[in-house]
Each structure stands twice: as structure tokens, then as C-alpha cells.
Symmetry: C2
Subunit: 444 residues, 2 copies
């Protein structure tokens, strides 16, 4: 008997009809002979409505109380989902984050999982029940308070449960058919990937791909959880995110490819899919801004000083580039960060201008970031050359470059980012055979 | 330092503005030097909305999941209330039923409190915090599941907390100024009572007075909790419900009367209020139906047989009257019960018609019940005579009579009940000096 963890986001349980549809899907998985654990988000706009209420009664809501408030949303959806399943004649039991043993630190609003003790879930499974767990929420042992996991929390709940229960696979249901080489809204011919390594997925998520949250991907990679990202609107097989070095995961991915192949009329097309493609996908991100610290003395320790100041402001830094030092003995240091962190970082830097001895600050929030990800580029020296050529031929200027072993990121003007993506997609032969039907949405 | 428990119902926290108003009131109580524990219901129509959703996904929702669902409502209101208080610069902490130590049996939807262990509340109070507790909900130790207390659950939560924390008083905030001799909607000249004994209040609540739930009154009486029923829309002193034989409670009631007297311009009016009035009030109830078991053999054991059958059907019986036995050796037994229990009781009786050997069943749901309550009638033999005379003079027919030491209940036609009440109110001199301004609503 396999154990399958399934995650359904807020749009999949937005109303009574959707809940019944999801319940039917869960029951089918159970009837196929699997043990089933489900992580569910709050219904549709519930979270936003609760947040609005909170801000109406308190300009800055107390974090402990905000978590208590927010956690009510999943209690509602999980109880409704369990009822719907029970009324179909199957046994279901819902559990809050704390009942499910989702132990976190005490950082309200963005708690980290420190332990998962799913004793009650295991008991319920042993009794033959389908288990429904509130996503997004946890419990701190010391304060005994309810916590929430922050953005993408339900994905993380699902992956953490899959790890703790040693599930065979963690299915993430979403409104697209899987992971695409590129956002199908920008590149209609974007190809759905049948499989992708967790390492590549991590780079894609870190660089703006919205289907999976980076935190859930990280957790899955660290704990060896195989993911299956698929649509809740059809029964198509989606994308397997797995660790190729784990034999069980590799076997799972191979079986998945075999199923896709046998489902397809022409078996030839997917034949070579297990060969490592050079490029897994392209991700873009328009949510960042660039700060340039101009005229920094070119002496050791200055970068450390600057980024200590920025870190203290609470800003999360992404790319860092130090431009070539000029003959003046001064250098410019540029970095990107979420636009929402921009003001805090600027204020912090301005306050220390004298200590750092820089000349000025430049802020640019009209940038776009583009990342090319693929394990294959490790062994393909020509990838960056091909990328830069494609951009050059489309007349797109590159403002920053940063690379890892399996990723190349470039910053361009925000308004050229879509042209850039299309040019790259074509240059690397990523265009699929048919237009992608479903548009990519934001995962919850 | 006094410890005050306050209960606010759903209409008092219906929206953000109401929540802020309630928060202000709580803060004022804290600023006056009291420790404050608040039991709060779900916002306005939340409970009904959640119930509707439940019935949309499942015709008969699983009871465990229904309780999980319902308990979300109070989580929302309590967190919002705590936030609102915190944003006024005071420390507040919200607790769910299980966090508050509200231990119940496992009867979902109508759980009974078996223990209250408010350890975390006491700790929070000792740290100077205002404590907010979710009304209506509890926790079963064996199943580790969330339960709800059923109708009037938040009143019961408040009273149980007051008992467990040895509070000085439990304030029940409602939309009327206190307990009235009669529903002010029916008798505009109904008088507000300044004090009432818990025994009398129990009879009033048991006979249909809606301001307090009988269960909460029972709990308060059994555990010696003094109640103060008052309006959340003004600062008027309300009605103290107390045990006159408890010296501390009697002192509290006396102080309350003194405050009312000093607040009133003419001190004379309330001067005699501590004297026991003959009649405390009149309650009506249109929610019951009458079943008559016709033609029962007049032999011992038949009543026991009938009421065992009815009890097994789950119906709650109120009044029982066995009519005078006729010369046929047959008798009729009539009883009243909630209309909602009527069908179950009829079905159960029909199934046993042969065993009981009765002739037929009559069902009547057009009855009205009226109860006259007052400790004073213990020593006033003429009360029932006066009551029956008043009804006779108004042309109202009495169908059933049942009495206790401090109460006389009669059943009449439903459509004559208001005329009956007005006649009695006048006959017993209960009319107040001014029309009651606020209309009575249903307590939550």
C-alpha cells in the first residue's frame, strides 16, 4: 500500500462545489488502494478577508493574535473537506497543525518547522481513515501558541508531512498541468516538463517560478521527498520533481515517464525524456529592485560592512555584483533585493554613509531578472555564450550577470524581459509542440 | 483586586466597529483595577454561515468535523478582540477552549463540561494580561478532539470560567438592560429587576425567558457564581442573579442596589427592593408542542412505560399532566416537549402502541406556555387563584397546569398568550413606571 500526500490550495477549495470535487478526487485515490493524507489551504479569499478585518480593528495586529486569527481559515476548509468525504461514505478525520504534530519555532507569521510528530495521523491512517491536515499552521512547544508558516506554507506542510510519514510521493495540486519550461502566459509554446531534478527546481523557484515555493522545494530536497506537481482540473500526469541520485525516486520518475509514454499515441516523442536536457527552464522575476552603492573605497572589508548594514535592515539580498574598479580607487557595488525591502535598505545605508565612506546611492525598481536553469549546463561550456548571443541579437542590454553551477541569471530592463524570454526559449529549442492550454497562476 | 468575567455575544462583536467598542469597555474594566477574563461568541452570523456551508458539502455533516468547523468562529472573534485591545496599549491574550482548559465529554454538538483547568489563564492574568477565551467550545481529553457546548454555550463558558477562577462576578452583556419581569416587546411597561435569586432565574429561564440560558443559570447556581446581566450598549447597572443564602453574594447584591439607589435621583423608589417581591416575573414559551396519549389503560406502570419510550427517542419532556381517569378504566396522559422533538417522540410511541395498549395519539403544536415565577409565592396561598381569575376574566382557556414551589405554569392556545401575559402583569402589579426602551433579543 502506498502512502500519498496531496496538497490542495485555496483556489481548489474556494466554494462548496470545489470542495466536493476535491473530496471526490481524494476518495478516488483512497479507492485505488492508497493511504491518503491531505494538506489543505484556507478557502479562496478567506485569508485576505481575515487580514482586512485584522487591520480594521488594529493598525498593527499583535503577531500572536494574527496567527490565531489566520489559523481559523484552514480549520474551516479542512472540516468541510472531511465532512464532504464522510458524506461520500468514507472515513475522514481533520487535524489542526498542532494536532498533526507540526512543531515550529515561535516566530509568528513566518515560523520554521523544527519537528513533525504525526502520531495521531499515523493512528488515524491505521484505522483506515483519510487524514485531512490544516496547511500553513503549526504550534510552538514552549509558548504553546499557534503559529503560521508564512507564504507557501501549505506546500511546506504537505512536504513536511510526506517526509515525516515517509510517503511515496507528495502531490501538489495546482491550476496548471505541471512545471513548464517557461510561464505559458509569456511563451504560449512553453513545454511542460515530465520530470525535473529537485536541484533544478530549486533554482527555478528561487528565480521566480511561481508554481512551487522555494521553501517547500528546499524541504523536499533535504528530506528526499518526491513531488508530483499536477492540475486539480484534470487527471493528466504532471511533473515529477525528484532526486536522480536516490534510486527509489529515480524508479518513481521512470515509472511516471513510462505511464506518460503509454498514454501518448506516439511513443517516440517522450522516448528520450530521461536523457538530461541541457536546459530545464527559464524563470523571470519582476519583483526585485537594484541598489547601487556608488563610489565605495576599493579597500578590503567594504563589501562586508555594506552587507552587514543591509542585513540588519531586514532586507533579503539576491544577486550581488561588484563592478570593475576604476583607476580612481573607488568601486561600485550593486545588489538586487525585493522591492518591498528597498526603502529599509536605503535608509539603513544612508544612516551609515559616513562610516562606509561611499559617495551616493542609486535605486532602480525597473529591472527584470531572468534565470536559465539546467543541470545540463554543468557540462556544456557554450550555454552562457548562446544566452548572451540570443539577447544581443534581440537588442537586449544585460545589466548584471550572476551564475551558479546549474543557473545563469541576468538582469535587464523590466520592459524587455518578455522579449528576452522568447528569444532564449527559441534559441535553446524549448518551444513545445502545442500551445499550453492552462495559464500559470500563483501557487498558494 | 477583583476578578471579573465578562461575556459578549455575537451581536456585540458583529463587525470591526463593535469589536473596538467592546475592546474599549474591557480596557475600562481593566483600568478600574480589575483582573478581566472575557468569553466571546463568534461574530454576528458567522455560526449560521458556517452551518450553511456544512450543509452544502454534506447533507448530514459528521459531528466531529462540524464541531471543528464551528469552533473556527470564536477563534476569529477572540483573536480580533485581543488585537483590538493590544492596539489600545494593553496586554491581551486569546485562548481557545482547549487552551483555556475547558474539558468536556465527547458528545459533539452538545458537550457537557466535566472539568475546567484554567492554568494558562491564571498565568496570563498573573502576568497582567487581559484574557480572552473562545466561548462555546471545549476539548475532550480521551479523543483529544474539539467539542462545542451547544445552544447558549458562550454563557456557560463564561460561568464555568468564573467558577473555576473564583471570580467576584460574571457579567453577561446583552442587548437589554437586564432581566425584566416580562418580555418588553410584549409588555412595554415591563419592569427591570435589580436583583433576582438564582432559583427564580432558573424557573424563568426554564420557562422561556431568553436573556439567559437555563444551562448557564444552573451552572452558576450549582457553583455559587453571581451573575450581572447588563446591556453592552450603555453603562447602566443591570440585574444581579445571586444566591441570597451566600453571604458574599448577598453583600454583592446589596452593594449593587445601593449603587442603583445613589444613581437614581429619588432614592425612595428602590428602597424596598431587597424585600422579596411576590412575583419576580412572567415567562412565555411558544416553542413547545403537546402530545396526548389517548386511552391508556389505567393500571400501574403505564406512565413509566410511556416516558421510557419517549426518553429513548431523545426527546426532552417539559410538563406532564395525567388527566382524571374516566369510568372506562382508561386515562389520557399529556405532555409538552420542544416542537423539534415532536416527530421523534410520536414515531417512537407509534412503534410501541401495541405494547402500551393505548388507543391513539394527538399532537398539538399551537400551544403557548406561560409561567409565573416568584419565591414569594411559597408563602402566598392566593397566587394561583389570582392567576386563574385574571386569565378567566380575559376569556383565556387553561389547558394544562403544572406547579413547583416558586412557579405556576399554564398552557393555553398560542394565539392568546400575549393577552394572557398582559392580564397577569397588570393583575400582579408588575407594570413599571416607564416603557422599556430596549427590546429583548435572543441571547447567544
Amino acid at each position: 500500500m502506498s502512502l500519498i500526500v496531496q496538497k490542495f490550495g485555496g483556489s481548489s477549495v474556494a466554494d462548496a462545489e470545489s470542495i466536493k470535487r476535491v473530496a471526490k478526487r481524494i476518495v478516488e485515490t483512497r479507492k485505488a488502494g492508497n493511504e491518503v493524507v491531505v494538506a489543505v489551504s484556507a478557502m479562496g479569499d478567506t485569508t485576505d478577508e481575515l487580514l482586512d478585518l485584522a487591520h480594521e480593528v488594529a493598525p498593527i495586529p499583535a503577531p500572536r493574535e494574527l496567527d490565531m486569527l489566520m489559523s481559523a481559515g484552514e480549520r474551516i476548509s479542512m472540516a468541510l473537506l472531511a465532512m464532504a468525504i464522510e458524506s461520500m461514505g468514507h472515513t475522514a478525520r481533520s487535524f489542526t497543525g498542532s494536532q498533526a504534530g507540526m512543531i515550529t519555532d515561535a516566530q509568528h507569521g513566518a515560523a520554521r518547522i523544527v519537528d513533525v510528530t504525526p502520531v495521531r495521523l499515523r493512528e488515524a491512517l491505521d484505522e483506515g481513515a483519510i487524514v485531512i491536515v490544516a496547511g500553513f499552521q503549526g504550534f510552538n512547544r514552549d509558548t504553546k501558541d499557534i503559529t503560521t508558516l508564512g507564504r507557501g506554507g501549505s506546500d511546506t506542510t504537505a512536504v513536511a508531512l510526506a517526509a515525516a510519514l515517509d510517503a511515496d510521493v507528495c502531490e501538489i495540486y495546482t491550476d496548471v498541468d505541471g512545471i513548464f519550461t517557461m510561464d505559458p502566459r509569456v511563451v504560449p509554446k512553453a513545454k511542460k516538463l515530465d520530470v525535473i531534478s529537485s536541484e533544478e527546481m530549486l533554482e527555478l523557484a528561487a528565480n521566480g517560478a511561481k508554481v512551487l515555493y522555494i521553501r517547500a522545494v528546499e524541504y523536499a530536497r533535504r528530506h528526499g521527498v518526491t513531488l508530483h506537481v499536477r492540475s486539480s482540473f484534470n487527471n493528466n500526469l504532471g511533473t515529477i520533481v525528484y532526486d536522480p541520485e536516490n534510486p527509489a525516486a529515480a524508479a518513481f520518475a521512470a515509472a511516471h515517464l513510462k505511464s506518460i509514454r503509454s498514454a501518448s499515441a506516439q511513443g517516440t516523442e517522450s522516448e528520450s525524456a530521461m536523457e538530461e536536457p541541457m536546459i530545464a527552464g527559464v524563470a523571470t522575476d519582476l519583483s526585485e529592485a537594484k541598489i547601487t552603492v556608488v563610489g565605495v573605497p576599493d579597500v578590503p572589508g567594504k563589501a562586508a560592512q555594506i552587507f552587514t548594514i543591509v542585513a540588519k535592515s531586514g532586507a533579503n539580498i539576491d544577486m550581488i555584483v561588484q563592478n570593475v574598479s576604476s583607476s580612481t580607487g573607488l568601486t561600485d557595488i550593486s545588489f538586487t533585493l525585493p522591492k518591498s525591502d528597498g526603502q529599509a535598505a536605503l535608509t539603513a545605508l544612508r544612516a551609515e554613509q559616513e562610516a562606509v565612506a561611499f559617495k551616493s546611492l542609486a535605486y532602480d525598481d525597473q529591472i527584470g531578472k531572468l534565470a536559465l536553469v539546467g543541470a545540463g549546463m554543468r557540462t556544456n561550456a557554450g550555454v552562457s555564450a548562446k544566452l548572451f548571443t540570443a539577447l544581443y541579437e534581440s537588442g537586449i542590454n544585460i545589466e548584471m550577470i550572476s551564475t551558479s553551477e546549474i543557473r545563469i541569471s541576468v538582469v535587464t530592463r523590466a520592459d524587455t524581459i518578455n522579449d528576452a524570454v522568447r528569444a532564449i526559449h527559441t534559441a535553446f529549442g524549448l518551444d513545445g509542440d502545442a500551445d499550453a492550454v492552462v495559464h500559470a497562476g500563483t501557487g498558494r
